[in-house]
Protein backbone atom coordinates (compact mmCIF):
# COMPACT_ATOMS: atom_id res chain seq x y z
CA UNK A 1 0.00 0.00 0.00
CA UNK A 2 1.17 3.50 -0.90
CA UNK A 3 1.75 6.00 1.95
CA UNK A 4 -0.46 8.48 0.05
CA UNK A 5 -3.42 6.25 0.95
CA UNK A 6 -3.00 7.37 4.58
CA UNK A 7 -3.62 10.99 3.58
CA UNK A 8 -6.33 10.03 1.08
CA UNK A 9 -8.26 8.23 3.85
CA UNK A 10 -8.00 11.27 6.12
CA UNK A 11 -9.04 13.59 3.29
CA UNK A 12 -12.04 11.45 2.31
CA UNK A 13 -13.17 10.95 5.90
CA UNK A 14 -12.59 14.48 7.28
CA UNK A 15 -11.84 16.77 4.30
CA UNK A 16 -12.28 20.00 6.27
CA UNK A 17 -10.47 19.02 9.46
CA UNK A 18 -7.26 21.01 10.04
CA UNK A 19 -4.21 18.86 9.35
CA UNK A 20 -1.45 21.43 9.70
CA UNK A 21 -0.74 24.88 11.11
CA UNK A 22 2.33 26.64 9.75
CA UNK A 23 3.22 30.32 10.22
CA UNK A 24 -0.28 30.84 11.69
CA UNK A 25 -2.02 29.47 8.57
CA UNK A 26 -4.23 26.38 8.65
CA UNK A 27 -4.37 23.64 6.00
CA UNK A 28 -7.04 20.93 5.89
CA UNK A 29 -6.58 17.25 4.94
CA UNK A 30 -8.65 17.92 1.81
CA UNK A 31 -6.44 20.84 0.74
CA UNK A 32 -3.20 18.96 1.37
CA UNK A 33 -4.37 15.84 -0.48
CA UNK A 34 -5.42 17.91 -3.45
CA UNK A 35 -2.05 19.75 -3.34
CA UNK A 36 -0.21 16.40 -3.18
CA UNK A 37 -2.09 15.25 -6.30
CA UNK A 38 -1.10 18.46 -8.13
CA UNK A 39 2.49 17.99 -6.98
CA UNK A 40 2.45 14.38 -8.23
CA UNK A 41 1.47 15.55 -11.71
CA UNK A 42 4.23 18.16 -11.69
CA UNK A 43 6.78 15.52 -10.64
CA UNK A 44 5.60 13.05 -13.30
CA UNK A 45 5.59 15.69 -16.05
CA UNK A 46 9.13 16.77 -15.12
CA UNK A 47 10.54 13.29 -15.68
CA UNK A 48 12.45 13.43 -12.37
CA UNK A 49 13.66 10.26 -10.61
CA UNK A 50 13.76 11.87 -7.14
CA UNK A 51 11.92 14.62 -5.26
CA UNK A 52 13.83 16.62 -2.67
CA UNK A 53 13.01 19.34 -0.18
CA UNK A 54 16.06 21.32 0.95
CA UNK A 55 14.46 23.73 3.39
CA UNK A 56 13.07 24.16 6.89
CA UNK A 57 9.64 22.74 7.81
CA UNK A 58 6.71 24.13 5.83
CA UNK A 59 3.56 22.71 4.20
CA UNK A 60 5.81 21.88 1.23
CA UNK A 61 7.19 18.96 3.27
CA UNK A 62 3.98 16.84 3.49
CA UNK A 63 2.88 17.96 0.00
CA UNK A 64 6.17 16.82 -1.55
CA UNK A 65 6.33 13.63 0.56
CA UNK A 66 2.85 12.42 -0.43
CA UNK A 67 3.13 13.87 -3.95
CA UNK A 68 6.30 11.84 -4.52
CA UNK A 69 4.45 8.80 -3.15
CA UNK A 70 1.59 9.24 -5.63
CA UNK A 71 4.06 9.84 -8.50
CA UNK A 72 6.00 6.72 -7.51
CA UNK A 73 9.40 8.41 -7.04
CA UNK A 74 11.48 8.46 -3.84
CA UNK A 75 11.25 11.50 -1.56
CA UNK A 76 14.73 12.56 -0.41
CA UNK A 77 14.77 15.45 2.08
CA UNK A 78 18.16 17.12 2.51
CA UNK A 79 19.74 18.85 5.49
CA UNK A 80 19.84 22.61 4.85
CA UNK A 81 22.70 23.00 7.33
CA UNK A 82 25.15 21.02 5.21
CA UNK A 83 27.97 22.79 3.42
CA UNK A 84 27.87 23.47 -0.31
CA UNK A 85 30.42 20.69 -0.91
CA UNK A 86 28.43 18.15 1.09
CA UNK A 87 25.14 19.11 -0.59
CA UNK A 88 26.62 19.02 -4.07
CA UNK A 89 27.89 15.52 -3.33
CA UNK A 90 24.46 14.33 -2.18
CA UNK A 91 22.60 16.03 -5.06
CA UNK A 92 24.92 14.19 -7.44
CA UNK A 93 23.59 10.92 -5.97
CA UNK A 94 19.92 11.77 -6.69
CA UNK A 95 19.89 13.00 -10.27
CA UNK A 96 17.64 13.92 -12.06
CA UNK A 97 15.96 15.60 -9.10
CA UNK A 98 12.97 17.88 -8.60
CA UNK A 99 14.45 20.21 -5.95
CA UNK A 100 12.21 22.38 -3.78
CA UNK A 101 14.31 24.84 -1.81
CA UNK A 102 14.73 28.26 -0.17
CA UNK A 103 15.70 31.39 -2.15
CA UNK A 104 19.32 31.22 -0.97
CA UNK A 105 19.84 27.72 -2.33
CA UNK A 106 17.93 28.52 -5.54
CA UNK A 107 20.44 31.28 -6.19
CA UNK A 108 23.35 29.03 -5.33
CA UNK A 109 22.25 26.19 -7.61
CA UNK A 110 20.61 28.01 -10.53
CA UNK A 111 23.64 27.47 -12.75
CA UNK A 112 24.30 23.96 -11.49
CA UNK A 113 23.16 20.81 -13.22
CA UNK A 114 19.82 20.50 -11.37
CA UNK A 115 17.01 19.17 -13.56
CA UNK A 116 14.16 21.05 -11.85
CA UNK A 117 14.73 23.83 -9.35
CA UNK A 118 11.83 25.60 -7.68
CA UNK A 119 11.48 27.97 -4.76
CA UNK A 120 9.40 26.62 -1.86
CA UNK A 121 6.87 29.48 -2.03
CA UNK A 122 6.36 28.99 -5.76
CA UNK A 123 5.88 25.24 -5.22
CA UNK A 124 3.27 25.94 -2.52
CA UNK A 125 1.45 28.48 -4.68
CA UNK A 126 1.43 26.06 -7.62
CA UNK A 127 0.17 23.04 -5.70
CA UNK A 128 -2.31 24.76 -3.36
CA UNK A 129 -4.10 26.66 -6.13
CA UNK A 130 -6.95 24.17 -5.93
CA UNK A 131 -7.40 22.90 -9.48
CA UNK A 132 -6.15 19.37 -8.87
CA UNK A 133 -7.41 16.51 -10.97
CA UNK A 134 -7.84 13.09 -9.38
CA UNK A 135 -4.50 11.31 -9.50
CA UNK A 136 -4.49 7.79 -8.13
CA UNK A 137 -1.44 6.48 -6.35
CA UNK A 138 0.31 3.42 -7.71
CA UNK A 139 -0.19 0.17 -5.78
CA UNK A 140 3.40 -0.97 -5.49
CA UNK A 141 4.12 -1.26 -1.77
CA UNK A 142 7.64 -2.46 -2.50
CA UNK A 143 8.60 0.81 -4.22
CA UNK A 144 10.90 3.22 -2.36
CA UNK A 145 8.89 5.91 -0.56
CA UNK A 146 11.68 7.72 1.24
CA UNK A 147 15.45 7.83 0.94
CA UNK A 148 17.33 9.37 3.85
CA UNK A 149 21.00 10.14 4.01
CA UNK A 150 22.15 9.09 7.46
CA UNK A 151 23.74 11.82 9.55
CA UNK A 152 27.19 10.32 9.16
CA UNK A 153 28.39 11.30 12.63
CA UNK A 154 31.27 8.91 12.02
CA UNK A 155 31.83 8.97 8.25
CA UNK A 156 30.29 9.26 4.76
CA UNK A 157 26.45 9.51 4.70
CA UNK A 158 24.76 6.26 3.68
CA UNK A 159 21.53 6.29 1.65
CA UNK A 160 18.95 4.42 3.76
CA UNK A 161 15.78 3.46 1.92
CA UNK A 162 12.29 2.94 3.30
CA UNK A 163 9.69 1.24 1.15
CA UNK A 164 6.00 2.15 1.24
CA UNK A 165 5.23 -1.16 2.95
CA UNK A 166 7.78 -0.46 5.74
CA UNK A 167 6.26 2.92 6.59
CA UNK A 168 2.65 1.74 6.21
CA UNK A 169 3.32 -1.28 8.47
CA UNK A 170 4.70 1.06 11.11
CA UNK A 171 1.66 3.35 10.96
CA UNK A 172 -1.01 0.60 10.85
CA UNK A 173 0.76 -1.25 13.66
CA UNK A 174 1.12 1.71 16.00
CA UNK A 175 -1.59 4.30 15.21
CA UNK A 176 -5.37 3.98 15.27
CA UNK A 177 -7.06 5.83 12.37
CA UNK A 178 -8.54 9.18 13.51
CA UNK A 179 -8.08 8.26 17.18
CA UNK A 180 -7.15 11.81 18.16
CA UNK A 181 -9.70 14.35 19.38
CA UNK A 182 -10.17 17.32 17.11
CA UNK A 183 -8.54 19.70 19.62
CA UNK A 184 -5.31 17.68 19.81
CA UNK A 185 -2.24 19.35 18.32
CA UNK A 186 1.29 18.00 17.91
CA UNK A 187 4.15 20.51 17.95
CA UNK A 188 6.78 19.26 15.50
CA UNK A 189 10.25 20.69 15.98
CA UNK A 190 12.34 17.86 14.60
CA UNK A 191 14.01 18.69 11.29
CA UNK A 192 12.15 17.53 8.17
CA UNK A 193 15.15 15.62 6.80
CA UNK A 194 15.14 13.26 9.79
CA UNK A 195 13.11 10.03 10.10
CA UNK A 196 11.33 11.53 13.14
CA UNK A 197 10.14 14.38 10.90
CA UNK A 198 8.70 11.89 8.40
CA UNK A 199 7.05 9.66 10.99
CA UNK A 200 5.55 12.69 12.77
CA UNK A 201 3.68 13.59 9.56
CA UNK A 202 2.48 10.04 8.86
CA UNK A 203 1.41 9.30 12.45
CA UNK A 204 -0.28 12.63 13.07
CA UNK A 205 -2.18 12.67 9.77
CA UNK A 206 -3.43 9.10 10.26
CA UNK A 207 -4.41 9.80 13.88
CA UNK A 208 -6.16 13.03 12.86
CA UNK A 209 -3.91 15.07 15.16
CA UNK A 210 -3.18 18.56 13.88
CA UNK A 211 0.52 19.30 13.31
CA UNK A 212 1.93 22.65 14.39
CA UNK A 213 5.27 23.27 12.69
CA UNK A 214 8.13 25.07 14.41
CA UNK A 215 10.89 25.46 11.81
CA UNK A 216 13.62 26.79 14.11
CA UNK A 217 13.69 25.66 17.72
CA UNK A 218 14.27 28.06 20.57
CA UNK A 219 12.83 27.65 24.07
CA UNK A 220 10.97 30.97 23.74
CA UNK A 221 9.25 30.16 20.45
CA UNK A 222 8.53 26.62 21.59
CA UNK A 223 6.69 27.80 24.71
CA UNK A 224 4.96 30.59 22.77
CA UNK A 225 3.59 28.11 20.21
CA UNK A 226 2.64 25.60 22.91
CA UNK A 227 0.52 28.22 24.63
CA UNK A 228 -0.75 30.08 21.55
CA UNK A 229 -1.80 26.92 19.69
CA UNK A 230 -2.98 24.95 22.76
CA UNK A 231 -0.50 22.21 21.93
CA UNK A 232 -1.33 18.83 23.50
CA UNK A 233 1.54 16.65 22.20
CA UNK A 234 5.20 17.35 21.64
CA UNK A 235 8.23 15.39 20.55
CA UNK A 236 11.61 16.64 21.74
CA UNK A 237 15.20 15.52 21.62
CA UNK A 238 16.88 15.51 25.05
CA UNK A 239 18.77 18.78 24.51
CA UNK A 240 15.52 20.58 23.66
CA UNK A 241 13.90 19.40 26.89
CA UNK A 242 16.95 20.52 28.92
CA UNK A 243 16.87 23.94 27.28
CA UNK A 244 13.11 24.37 27.79
CA UNK A 245 13.46 23.48 31.47
CA UNK A 246 16.41 25.85 31.99
CA UNK A 247 14.47 28.61 30.27
CA UNK A 248 11.36 28.05 32.41
CA UNK A 249 13.61 28.06 35.47
CA UNK A 250 14.87 31.53 34.49
CA UNK A 251 11.38 33.01 34.10
CA UNK A 252 9.64 34.94 36.87
CA UNK A 253 6.19 34.09 35.56
CA UNK A 254 6.11 30.40 34.75
CA UNK A 255 4.20 29.38 31.60
CA UNK A 256 1.18 27.19 32.38
CA UNK A 257 1.26 24.83 29.38
CA UNK A 258 -2.23 23.77 30.48
CA UNK A 259 -3.13 21.98 27.28
CA UNK A 260 0.06 19.89 27.19
CA UNK A 261 -0.77 16.21 27.79
CA UNK A 262 2.03 14.24 26.27
CA UNK A 263 5.79 14.63 25.82
CA UNK A 264 7.54 12.06 23.67
CA UNK A 265 11.32 12.12 23.51
CA UNK A 266 14.08 10.30 21.70
CA UNK A 267 16.90 10.76 19.23
CA UNK A 268 19.64 10.63 21.82
CA UNK A 269 20.31 9.57 25.38
CA UNK A 270 18.17 11.42 27.91
CA UNK A 271 20.18 12.23 31.06
CA UNK A 272 18.38 10.59 33.98
CA UNK A 273 18.42 13.78 36.08
CA UNK A 274 16.71 15.74 33.28
CA UNK A 275 13.81 13.30 32.98
CA UNK A 276 13.46 13.17 36.77
CA UNK A 277 13.21 16.98 36.94
CA UNK A 278 10.75 16.99 34.05
CA UNK A 279 8.50 14.49 35.85
CA UNK A 280 8.41 16.86 38.83
CA UNK A 281 8.02 20.05 36.75
CA UNK A 282 5.14 18.65 34.64
CA UNK A 283 3.17 16.29 36.90
CA UNK A 284 0.09 16.41 34.62
CA UNK A 285 2.06 15.32 31.53
CA UNK A 286 2.50 11.80 30.14
CA UNK A 287 6.10 11.05 29.17
CA UNK A 288 7.02 8.52 26.49
CA UNK A 289 10.54 7.57 25.50
CA UNK A 290 10.79 6.33 21.92
CA UNK A 291 13.73 4.43 20.46
CA UNK A 292 14.14 3.85 16.78
CA UNK A 293 16.41 4.25 13.80
CA UNK A 294 16.12 5.56 10.27
CA UNK A 295 16.43 1.98 8.99
CA UNK A 296 13.50 0.82 11.16
CA UNK A 297 10.93 3.43 9.98
CA UNK A 298 11.22 5.22 13.35
CA UNK A 299 10.06 3.82 16.71
CA UNK A 300 10.70 0.18 17.59
CA UNK A 301 10.51 0.42 21.40
CA UNK A 302 8.65 2.67 23.82
CA UNK A 303 8.78 3.40 27.52
CA UNK A 304 5.24 4.60 28.17
CA UNK A 305 3.79 7.02 30.75
CA UNK A 306 2.85 4.27 33.21
CA UNK A 307 6.37 2.80 32.99
CA UNK A 308 7.81 6.22 33.78
CA UNK A 309 5.68 6.61 36.90
CA UNK A 310 6.24 3.06 38.16
CA UNK A 311 10.01 3.28 37.66
CA UNK A 312 10.32 6.73 39.19
CA UNK A 313 8.30 5.78 42.28
CA UNK A 314 9.93 2.40 42.84
CA UNK A 315 12.60 1.65 45.45
CA UNK A 316 13.45 -1.66 43.80
CA UNK A 317 16.70 -1.02 41.88
CA UNK A 318 15.70 -3.33 38.97
CA UNK A 319 12.46 -1.35 38.49
CA UNK A 320 13.84 2.11 39.22
CA UNK A 321 16.60 1.81 36.63
CA UNK A 322 13.95 1.37 33.90
CA UNK A 323 13.58 5.16 33.89
CA UNK A 324 16.84 5.05 31.95
CA UNK A 325 15.62 2.35 29.55
CA UNK A 326 13.88 2.79 26.19
CA UNK A 327 11.06 0.45 27.21
CA UNK A 328 9.66 -2.57 25.41
CA UNK A 329 9.51 -3.43 21.72
CA UNK A 330 6.36 -2.64 19.72
CA UNK A 331 4.09 -5.71 19.36
CA UNK A 332 5.02 -6.12 15.69
CA UNK A 333 8.77 -5.89 16.31
CA UNK A 334 11.19 -8.52 17.66
CA UNK A 335 14.43 -7.61 19.42
CA UNK A 336 17.44 -9.83 20.15
CA UNK A 337 20.82 -9.16 21.73
CA UNK A 338 23.76 -10.95 20.15
CA UNK A 339 27.46 -11.23 20.87
CA UNK A 340 30.26 -10.71 18.33
CA UNK A 341 29.94 -14.31 17.12
CA UNK A 342 26.21 -13.91 16.52
CA UNK A 343 25.07 -15.94 19.55
CA UNK A 344 21.80 -14.77 21.10
CA UNK A 345 22.45 -13.52 24.65
CA UNK A 346 20.25 -13.91 27.73
CA UNK A 347 18.79 -11.27 30.03
CA UNK A 348 21.08 -8.55 31.33
CA UNK A 349 23.93 -9.51 28.99
CA UNK A 350 25.14 -6.66 26.82
CA UNK A 351 25.70 -7.05 23.10
CA UNK A 352 24.55 -5.72 19.76
CA UNK A 353 20.83 -5.02 19.28
CA UNK A 354 19.19 -6.91 16.38
CA UNK A 355 15.68 -6.12 15.21
CA UNK A 356 13.13 -7.74 12.89
CA UNK A 357 9.63 -6.84 11.69
CA UNK A 358 7.67 -5.55 8.69
CA UNK A 359 8.60 -1.91 9.42
CA UNK A 360 12.33 -2.73 9.42
CA UNK A 361 13.86 -1.95 6.04
CA UNK A 362 17.50 -2.44 7.05
CA UNK A 363 18.41 -1.44 3.53
CA UNK A 364 20.73 1.03 1.89
CA UNK A 365 20.89 1.83 -1.82
CA UNK A 366 24.25 0.06 -1.81
CA UNK A 367 23.23 -3.08 0.10
CA UNK A 368 20.66 -4.86 2.26
CA UNK A 369 22.09 -5.13 5.78
CA UNK A 370 19.51 -7.70 7.00
CA UNK A 371 20.59 -11.31 7.41
CA UNK A 372 18.86 -14.24 5.69
CA UNK A 373 16.17 -14.41 8.41
CA UNK A 374 15.34 -10.71 8.19
CA UNK A 375 17.28 -9.55 11.27
CA UNK A 376 18.86 -6.10 11.06
CA UNK A 377 22.03 -5.40 13.07
CA UNK A 378 21.46 -1.89 14.47
CA UNK A 379 25.12 -1.30 15.52
CA UNK A 380 23.61 -0.07 18.79
CA UNK A 381 24.77 -1.84 21.94
CA UNK A 382 22.49 -2.72 24.82
CA UNK A 383 20.73 -5.39 26.85
CA UNK A 384 17.23 -6.59 27.74
CA UNK A 385 16.18 -7.06 31.35
CA UNK A 386 14.08 -10.01 32.58
CA UNK A 387 10.82 -8.28 31.60
CA UNK A 388 11.98 -7.22 28.14
CA UNK A 389 12.91 -3.62 28.87
CA UNK A 390 15.67 -2.49 26.53
CA UNK A 391 18.67 -0.55 27.83
CA UNK A 392 21.03 1.20 25.44
CA UNK A 393 24.73 1.55 26.11
CA UNK A 394 25.94 3.39 23.03
CA UNK A 395 26.98 2.41 19.53
CA UNK A 396 28.51 -1.03 19.11
CA UNK A 397 31.36 0.72 17.28
CA UNK A 398 31.99 2.88 20.34
CA UNK A 399 32.84 -0.04 22.59
CA UNK A 400 36.39 0.44 23.84
CA UNK A 401 38.64 -2.59 23.75
CA UNK A 402 41.37 -2.01 26.32
CA UNK A 403 43.88 -4.82 26.71
CA UNK A 404 41.30 -7.32 25.44
CA UNK A 405 38.62 -6.09 27.82
CA UNK A 406 35.37 -4.64 26.38
CA UNK A 407 34.39 -1.36 28.02
CA UNK A 408 31.08 0.33 27.29
CA UNK A 409 31.46 4.13 27.34
CA UNK A 410 27.94 4.42 28.79
CA UNK A 411 28.80 2.79 32.13
CA UNK A 412 31.75 5.13 32.72
CA UNK A 413 29.76 8.18 31.59
CA UNK A 414 27.06 7.32 34.09
CA UNK A 415 29.57 7.37 36.95
CA UNK A 416 31.06 10.70 35.83
CA UNK A 417 27.57 12.21 35.53
CA UNK A 418 26.94 11.30 39.16
CA UNK A 419 29.43 14.01 40.24
CA UNK A 420 27.46 16.99 41.54
CA UNK A 421 29.14 19.50 39.20
CA UNK A 422 29.17 17.42 36.02
CA UNK A 423 26.34 18.16 33.58
CA UNK A 424 27.52 16.17 30.59
CA UNK A 425 30.17 13.55 29.92
CA UNK A 426 31.54 11.53 27.11
CA UNK A 427 33.93 8.59 27.27
CA UNK A 428 35.83 7.21 24.31
CA UNK A 429 38.81 5.13 23.30
CA UNK A 430 41.94 6.48 21.66
CA UNK A 431 44.75 4.44 20.12
CA UNK A 432 47.30 3.30 22.72
CA UNK A 433 50.56 1.45 22.18
CA UNK A 434 50.28 -0.20 25.55
CA UNK A 435 46.59 -1.24 25.61
CA UNK A 436 45.43 -1.13 22.00
CA UNK A 437 42.91 1.45 23.14
CA UNK A 438 43.01 3.75 26.15
CA UNK A 439 39.99 5.20 27.97
CA UNK A 440 39.68 9.00 27.94
CA UNK A 441 36.85 11.36 28.84
CA UNK A 442 35.48 14.85 28.32
CA UNK A 443 33.23 16.42 30.95
CA UNK A 444 31.16 19.59 31.04
CA UNK A 445 30.75 21.36 34.37
CA UNK A 446 27.96 23.52 35.78
CA UNK A 447 28.84 27.15 35.06
CA UNK A 448 31.03 28.61 37.82
CA UNK A 449 31.84 25.26 39.44
CA UNK A 450 34.93 23.12 39.58
CA UNK A 451 35.88 19.44 39.67
CA UNK A 452 39.21 17.72 40.23
CA UNK A 453 40.26 15.20 37.65
CA UNK A 454 41.69 13.05 40.43
CA UNK A 455 38.29 12.94 42.18
CA UNK A 456 36.52 11.97 38.98
CA UNK A 457 39.06 9.19 38.38
CA UNK A 458 38.60 7.98 41.94
CA UNK A 459 34.81 7.83 41.50
CA UNK A 460 35.22 5.54 38.50
CA UNK A 461 37.81 3.38 40.30
CA UNK A 462 35.55 2.99 43.36
CA UNK A 463 32.33 2.38 41.45
CA UNK A 464 33.69 0.22 38.62
CA UNK A 465 37.30 -0.94 38.45
CA UNK A 466 40.72 0.46 37.61
CA UNK A 467 40.66 -0.63 33.94
CA UNK A 468 37.66 1.70 33.45
CA UNK A 469 39.41 4.81 34.81
CA UNK A 470 39.94 7.45 32.09
CA UNK A 471 43.66 8.19 31.68
CA UNK A 472 42.88 11.73 30.61
CA UNK A 473 39.85 13.84 31.46
CA UNK A 474 39.37 17.13 29.65
CA UNK A 475 37.00 19.82 30.88
CA UNK A 476 35.13 21.55 28.04
CA UNK A 477 32.36 24.15 28.01
CA UNK A 478 30.04 21.99 25.89
CA UNK A 479 29.93 18.76 23.87
CA UNK A 480 29.17 18.94 20.13
CA UNK A 481 25.68 17.66 19.25
CA UNK A 482 23.94 17.56 15.87
CA UNK A 483 20.34 18.80 15.36
CA UNK A 484 18.90 15.54 16.64
CA UNK A 485 20.86 15.59 19.87
CA UNK A 486 23.38 12.98 18.71
CA UNK A 487 26.96 13.44 19.84
CA UNK A 488 29.39 14.09 17.02
CA UNK A 489 32.03 11.73 18.34
CA UNK A 490 34.68 12.33 15.70
CA UNK A 491 34.92 16.00 16.79
CA UNK A 492 35.62 14.96 20.36
CA UNK A 493 38.07 12.28 19.36
CA UNK A 494 40.04 14.98 17.53
CA UNK A 495 40.70 16.69 20.88
CA UNK A 496 42.93 13.79 21.88
CA UNK A 497 44.69 13.04 18.61
Amino acid sequence: MNIAMLLQMAAETFPDRIALTSSNKDYSYGELYSAAQSAARMFTDSGCDYVSVLDVSSPAVPIALFGAGIAGVPYVPLNYRLSRTELTGLLGRISPVYLITDPGHVEEYQNADIANLIETDAFLAGTLSGDAKETEASDGGDAIAVQLFTSGTTGQPKAAILRHENLVSYILGSVEFMAADEEEANLVTVPPYHIAGISAILSSFYAGRRIVQLPNFSPESWIQLCEGQSVTNVFVVPTMLSRVMEYIESLDTKPKLDALKSVAYGGGKMPINVIKLALIAFPHVNFTNAYGLTETSSTIAVLGPEDHRLANDSDVPEIHRRLGSVGKSLPSVEIEIRDDEGNVLGHNHSGEIYVRGPQVSGEYIERDAKDGDGWFPTRDAGFLDEDGYLFLSGRADDVIVRGGENISPGEVEEVLMAHENVTDAMVLGIPSDEWGEAVVAVVVLKPGTDAHVGDLQKMVRDKLRSSRVPEQILIESALPYNDMGKLIRRQIKALFL
Binding site: A196, Y206, V302
Partner: protein, 102 residues
Protein backbone atom coordinates in the same frame (compact mmCIF):
# COMPACT_ATOMS: atom_id res chain seq x y z
CA UNK B 1 -13.35 -14.86 -6.84
CA UNK B 2 -10.52 -12.48 -7.62
CA UNK B 3 -6.76 -12.61 -7.56
CA UNK B 4 -5.39 -10.21 -4.99
CA UNK B 5 -2.08 -9.10 -3.51
CA UNK B 6 -0.98 -6.42 -1.04
CA UNK B 7 -2.05 -3.07 -2.44
CA UNK B 8 -5.08 -4.42 -4.35
CA UNK B 9 -8.10 -2.19 -3.79
CA UNK B 10 -11.59 -3.67 -3.87
CA UNK B 11 -15.05 -2.11 -3.70
CA UNK B 12 -18.39 -3.42 -2.61
CA UNK B 13 -21.23 -3.75 -5.11
CA UNK B 14 -23.93 -3.44 -2.42
CA UNK B 15 -22.65 -0.49 -0.34
CA UNK B 16 -19.91 2.18 -0.24
CA UNK B 17 -17.24 0.00 1.41
CA UNK B 18 -13.75 -0.06 -0.09
CA UNK B 19 -10.84 -2.07 1.27
CA UNK B 20 -7.15 -2.39 0.56
CA UNK B 21 -5.32 -5.70 0.85
CA UNK B 22 -2.55 -5.48 3.46
CA UNK B 23 -1.70 -9.17 3.70
CA UNK B 24 -2.61 -12.07 1.31
CA UNK B 25 -1.61 -13.09 -2.15
CA UNK B 26 -3.67 -15.40 -4.34
CA UNK B 27 -7.30 -16.13 -5.17
CA UNK B 28 -10.02 -15.32 -2.66
CA UNK B 29 -13.74 -14.61 -2.64
CA UNK B 30 -13.68 -11.41 -0.65
CA UNK B 31 -17.20 -10.26 -0.02
CA UNK B 32 -18.95 -7.32 1.53
CA UNK B 33 -22.62 -7.30 2.48
CA UNK B 34 -22.78 -10.90 1.30
CA UNK B 35 -21.72 -10.27 -2.33
CA UNK B 36 -18.25 -10.63 -3.91
CA UNK B 37 -16.30 -7.37 -4.10
CA UNK B 38 -14.82 -6.17 -7.37
CA UNK B 39 -11.69 -4.25 -8.40
CA UNK B 40 -12.04 -0.64 -7.25
CA UNK B 41 -11.28 0.66 -10.73
CA UNK B 42 -13.89 -1.53 -12.48
CA UNK B 43 -17.22 -0.09 -13.60
CA UNK B 44 -19.73 -0.61 -10.84
CA UNK B 45 -22.76 -2.72 -11.75
CA UNK B 46 -26.17 -1.61 -10.51
CA UNK B 47 -26.14 -1.67 -6.70
CA UNK B 48 -27.43 -4.93 -5.28
CA UNK B 49 -28.93 -5.38 -1.82
CA UNK B 50 -27.13 -6.20 1.39
CA UNK B 51 -27.62 -9.67 2.81
CA UNK B 52 -29.05 -9.28 6.37
CA UNK B 53 -26.42 -11.68 7.71
CA UNK B 54 -23.65 -9.32 6.57
CA UNK B 55 -25.09 -5.94 7.49
CA UNK B 56 -23.08 -4.89 10.55
CA UNK B 57 -21.11 -2.38 8.53
CA UNK B 58 -17.41 -1.73 7.86
CA UNK B 59 -15.53 1.07 9.56
CA UNK B 60 -12.87 3.19 7.90
CA UNK B 61 -9.40 2.63 9.36
CA UNK B 62 -10.31 -0.77 10.84
CA UNK B 63 -8.37 -3.84 9.83
CA UNK B 64 -10.27 -7.07 9.10
CA UNK B 65 -8.60 -10.46 9.44
CA UNK B 66 -9.48 -14.13 9.04
CA UNK B 67 -9.32 -16.65 11.88
CA UNK B 68 -5.88 -17.99 10.85
CA UNK B 69 -4.46 -14.50 10.44
CA UNK B 70 -3.45 -15.28 6.84
CA UNK B 71 -5.40 -12.34 5.46
CA UNK B 72 -5.59 -8.69 6.47
CA UNK B 73 -7.68 -6.00 4.80
CA UNK B 74 -7.81 -2.29 5.64
CA UNK B 75 -11.14 -0.54 5.23
CA UNK B 76 -10.38 2.71 3.38
CA UNK B 77 -14.02 3.76 2.81
CA UNK B 78 -16.84 2.89 5.21
CA UNK B 79 -20.08 1.19 4.21
CA UNK B 80 -23.17 -0.61 5.52
CA UNK B 81 -22.08 -4.13 4.55
CA UNK B 82 -19.72 -6.26 6.61
CA UNK B 83 -16.71 -8.23 5.40
CA UNK B 84 -16.41 -11.95 4.75
CA UNK B 85 -14.52 -14.50 2.68
CA UNK B 86 -17.34 -16.42 1.02
CA UNK B 87 -19.74 -17.01 3.91
CA UNK B 88 -17.10 -16.83 6.64
CA UNK B 89 -17.12 -13.43 8.37
CA UNK B 90 -13.85 -11.56 8.84
CA UNK B 91 -13.23 -10.09 12.27
CA UNK B 92 -12.00 -6.69 13.30
CA UNK B 93 -8.36 -6.79 14.37
CA UNK B 94 -8.04 -5.41 17.86
CA UNK B 95 -5.35 -2.76 18.00
CA UNK B 96 -2.93 -2.59 20.89
CA UNK B 97 -3.15 0.86 22.34
CA UNK B 98 0.27 2.48 22.23
CA UNK B 99 1.32 5.88 23.51
CA UNK B 100 1.95 8.35 20.73
CA UNK B 101 5.70 8.36 20.21
CA UNK B 102 6.14 10.79 17.35
Amino acid sequence: MSTIKPGTRLKSVVCDTEVMVIKYSGDADISCGGTSMIDAKADAPEKGTINEAFSDGSLVGKRYVDADDTMELLCVKPGAGSMSVGDVPLVEKSAKSLPSSD
